[in-house]
């Protein structure tokens, strides 16, 4: 009996102290923002675990404790091509404890129709981390050795070639349509649910062309099962396994579309928190371990600070608007939405 009383008293005491502890903790947070961060920082990934964007967040998660003194915690909020996660980010508390990964879809989705997040006013970029590209790949057994060969073939056999991408209006689709309209050829587009399904169909020769992020096709290019014909970025990739792939511009086609990833926060961060985070992410990105991980995925580190990232967003938005209008993607989506 005695024991029980002692035990329950001890339990009560510890609970009360926990409560008091919680109070002081709250005070700390408001009083001393200088000692940011005091608790783990959540980073929202608006795609499911296992995708390219998720992997960048995981790489950040792995390296961050060295520079932030607190862990980063990755939370996946997939759905709606990123919009669900970004909505949540835009409506979260701007205290620096909730951040989100950004991708090109952040810019693309609002072009198709209103999203709840209005990124120029609701989100604040902290850094741009990396800049990747889309690789145009064909099966290695196909005869085409360069982009010109594909264009010639397609001109002789209009609407025979198909290209795969991860869904209408997805970034891969945009690059594909941009290619077709710049080259003045007519390709049939086949939407898939995600890049890996498109890659599967390409390897099974059910489609002829695909526009993919490097991570999905790098090993197949190295192994010679797929042939890369062009990259969509302005410059060639630096990865030794992929640096042999010429850009579209080199082959006389005016296509330059990058695939950037970055970190953003809801608008209205306290300036010192923003500065702290900006500096921390800058050092994370220059960490050799982080750099190595991103390069493994076929990405390239390309640091931009907050101001530059914001300018990049607006620039990309302009460029993408033009492409989706010129290629008729916008019209097509609008038509279906009505």
């Amino acid at each position: 009996m005695q024991k029980k009383i002692v035990l329950s008293l001890a339990l009560c005491f510890s609970l009360v102290s926990l409560m008091i502890g919680g109070c002081t903790y709250m005070q700390n947070k408001t009083a001393a923002a200088k000692t940011f961060p005091l608790k783990p920082i959540t980073i929202i990934v608006p795609f499911s675990a296992g995708g390219g964007t998720d992997l960048i967040a995981r790489a950040l998660e792995k390296v961050a404790p060295k520079y932030l003194a607190q862990p980063l915690v990755v939370i996946n909020k997939p759905g709606g091509t990123g919009t669900i996660g970004w909505n949540e980010l835009a409506s979260s508390n701007p205290d620096g404890y909730t951040l989100g990964i950004t991708a090109l879809d952040l810019i693309v989705q609002p072009l198709y129709g209103p999203t709840k997040y209005h990124y120029p006013t609701a989100l604040e970029p902290l850094v741009q981390i990396s800049n990747s590209t889309f690789i145009m790949v064909v099966d290695a057994k196909e005869p085409w050795q360069d982009v010109a060969a594909v264009i010639n073939y397609s001109k002789e056999h209009p609407r025979e070639l198909t290209f795969g991408h991860s869904g209408i209006g997805s970034t891969g689709h945009i690059v594909g349509e941009a290619f077709a309209s710049t080259a003045n050829i007519s390709l049939r587009q086949v939407p898939f649910r995600g890049a890996s399904e498109a890659a599967t169909a390409l390897l099974g020769k059910h489609i002829q062309i695909a526009f993919m992020a490097p991570a999905s096709v790098k090993e197949h290019i190295k192994n010679g099962t797929l042939r890369a014909l062009a990259v969509s970025s302005k410059q060639r990739l630096t990865d030794p396994a992929l640096s042999h792939i010429p850009t579209f511009t080199e082959q006389g086609l005016d296509i330059a579309l990058n695939n950037p990833n970055g970190v953003a926060a809801p608008k209205g961060l306290p300036p010192e928190v923003k500065a702290e985070l900006g500096a921390a992410f800058k050092s994370i990105i220059s960490d050799p371990e982080f750099k190595n991980m991103i390069e493994q995925l076929g990405g390239q580190i390309e640091y931009l600070d907050s101001k530059q990232s914001e300018a990049q967003w607006l620039d990309d938005s302009k460029k993408l608007t033009k492409i989706i209008e010129d290629t008729g993607i916008l019209e097509r989506i609008k038509e279906q939405k009505n």
Binding site: G50, D54, R58, K62, V73, G79, G80, T200, L297
Partner: protein
């Protein structure tokens, strides 16, 4: 011969103490993930990724693979004992597993599930060891038109899985297909039937519906029953294990389930769930006593449980040889690979032979470990039934809801799970079985996608579905089975006619 020396080399890696420990931790966590209703493999592995950062890459991957295949072992436990599926793929086990528990044969069902899982799991790993590269090429031969044909045949054949009337089953399956169309359709880029609610863009998750329609609905059903405690039959040691007859009856279903699961695992999508359904349908057809199905036929536990375990090894094939994940489970494994700086693909076997063979051999060891862990646990789990229901059931609800939240980190999902719990409760009262609904939900989107993609690929010609050899073979097979099924019906019909007009 070469394979044997490679295997031995692999075992020399997987038997290293760190890797053995990683394997043990993996399968233990996997069992737990499987047993706890709601928590699914993908979110469990995603949650554990950060803990692997400091681990050696081989050990980390052995652990993640362990969680993946381990979770399929545990999924049957709550399905059999409480009619609450621990994993979406274990839904089918509820059909006969739970009636067995009510008859006092729950322990036997659990043992058969564990042994079946072990045998089929091993069949799967052997298949993976011997035939990975050619099977990967075979999987690639299936394009969108073939997926459409398989989905169509599957939907028709699987709908009549439960004992309820064909009309009710078809109704449920159609409802499932309809639910499957909700959400952002990646093929057209528009959201359908979402009424402007963002959260609906994600579509319905199979696990959420399975937990709701089966798990939560069962809890509601228990709540409304006037008898406070179903009598737990005596728990003698011999009751925990199957009789000789039960073992004999389950041996063939386990083997068949193992092979079927392995083949279905090569298809993209929710192959573990579909494999279970297919195996159940097959066993019902092969059985001499099909009337027992749904009322505690041990074959209905053995086959599907075997099938959903051999699926796992098959899904590893496209991942390890092509670097392409065909399902959510292997997608998160791919993440695990990449975080440790390894891009799986056609070069994995030559560039990282230690990792490749170490991982595969660890699956042999892991399957054995799972059997050793699970058999003694059966006694413990059966004892759980002695817990008063007013304590046990709220705990199950708590676990289910927690797990459901972890799938998408979404509150909306919790509302759906409750909503479908209520729907499931009324379905039961009115004699509907929600299983065909799940079949529709799984297969419907595949059907639609296969058709749309197939039509685009063939430039809009619907005949391509029949002219492509693989696709037409599948359709023909389906038609033959349908025809075969209508013969007895037709027979009966003419007999009835004769009776009326002698």
């Amino acid at each position: 011969m070469e394979t044997i020396s490679l295997l031995l080399h692999g075992f020399s890696i997987s038997i290293l103490p760190t890797n053995l420990l990683a394997c043990a931790i993996g399968v233990l966590i996997g069992t737990l993930v499987g047993v706890l209703p709601g928590i699914d493999t993908i979110s469990a592995i995603a949650l554990l990724l950060p803990f692997s950062y400091s681990m050696d890459s081989t050990a980390a991957l052995i652990m993640f693979a362990g969680i993946y295949y381990g979770s399929k072992y545990g999924g049957s436990t709550t399905a059999i004992l409480m009619n609450v599926p621990g994993e979406a793929s274990a839904v089918i086990t509820c059909l006969d597993g739970y009636p067995m528990t009510q008859k006092g044969r729950g322990g036997a069902a659990l043992t058969v599930a564990a042994v079946g899982s072990f045998i089929a799991g091993t069949i799967g790993v052997v298949g993976l060891t011997l035939f990975a590269p050619p099977l990967a090429q075979l999987a690639l031969a299936f394009g969108p038109p073939e997926y459409f044909s398989i989905a169509l045949v599957g939907l028709i054949l699987l709908t009549k899985l439960t004992g309820t009337s064909m009309l009710k089953s078809s109704l449920m399956a159609t409802l499932g297909v309809m639910l499957g169309t909700i959400g952002l359709d990646s093929l057209s880029g528009i959201s359908r039937f979402s009424f402007g609610i963002d959260e609906l863009d994600r579509g319905f998750n199979l696990s959420i519906l399975a937990m709701g329609l089966f798990g939560i609905a069962e809890i509601f059903t228990v709540m409304t029953q006037s008898t406070p405690q179903p009598k737990v039959p005596s728990l003698h040691f011999k009751d925990l294990y199957p009789t000789k007859e039960e073992f004999q009856r389950s041996s063939l279903p386990i083997l068949r389930g193992g092979f079927i699961g392995f083949l279905i695992g090569l298809l993209p999508g929710s192959s573990a769930t579909i494999a279970g359904f297919t195996s159940y349908a097959l066993e019902k057809r092969c059985s001499k006593k099909p009337a027992e199905f749904g009322y505690g036929a041990i074959e209905g536990v053995a086959g599907p449980e075997a099938a959903n375990n051999s699926v796992v090894s098959a899904t590893m094939i496209p991942l390890l040889t092509l670097g392409l994940p065909f399902c959510g489970g292997t997608a998160i494994l791919l993440s695990g690979f990449m975080i440790h700086g390894i891009l799986p693909g056609p070069t994995l076997i030559t560039q990282h032979p230690d990792l490749f063979w170490g991982l595969i051999t660890s699956m042999y060891i892991g399957n054995l470990m799972l059997l050793v862990i699970n058999l003694p646990l059966i006694g413990v789990f059966v004892q759980l039934l002695k817990t008063p229901l007013n304590i046990l059931m709220p705990l199950v609800v708590l676990l289910t809801i927690t797990g459901a939240y972890s799938i998408n980190n979404s509150i909306m999902d919790l509302m759906w799970i409750t909503f479908f719990g209520i729907i499931g409760f009324f379905m039961r009262r009115t004699g509907f079985n929600p299983l065909p609904l799940l079949i529709g939900l799984v297969i419907g989107p595949e059907l639609e996608r296969g058709l749309i993609q197939g039509l685009i690929i063939s430039n809009g010609s619907i005949y391509s579905l029949i002219t492509r050899p693989l696709s037409s073979a599948i359709l023909f097979l389906g038609a033959a089975i349908l025809l075969y099924n209508t013969v007895p019906w037709f027979d009966k019909f003419t007999k009835d006619k004769k009776k009326v007009h002698p």
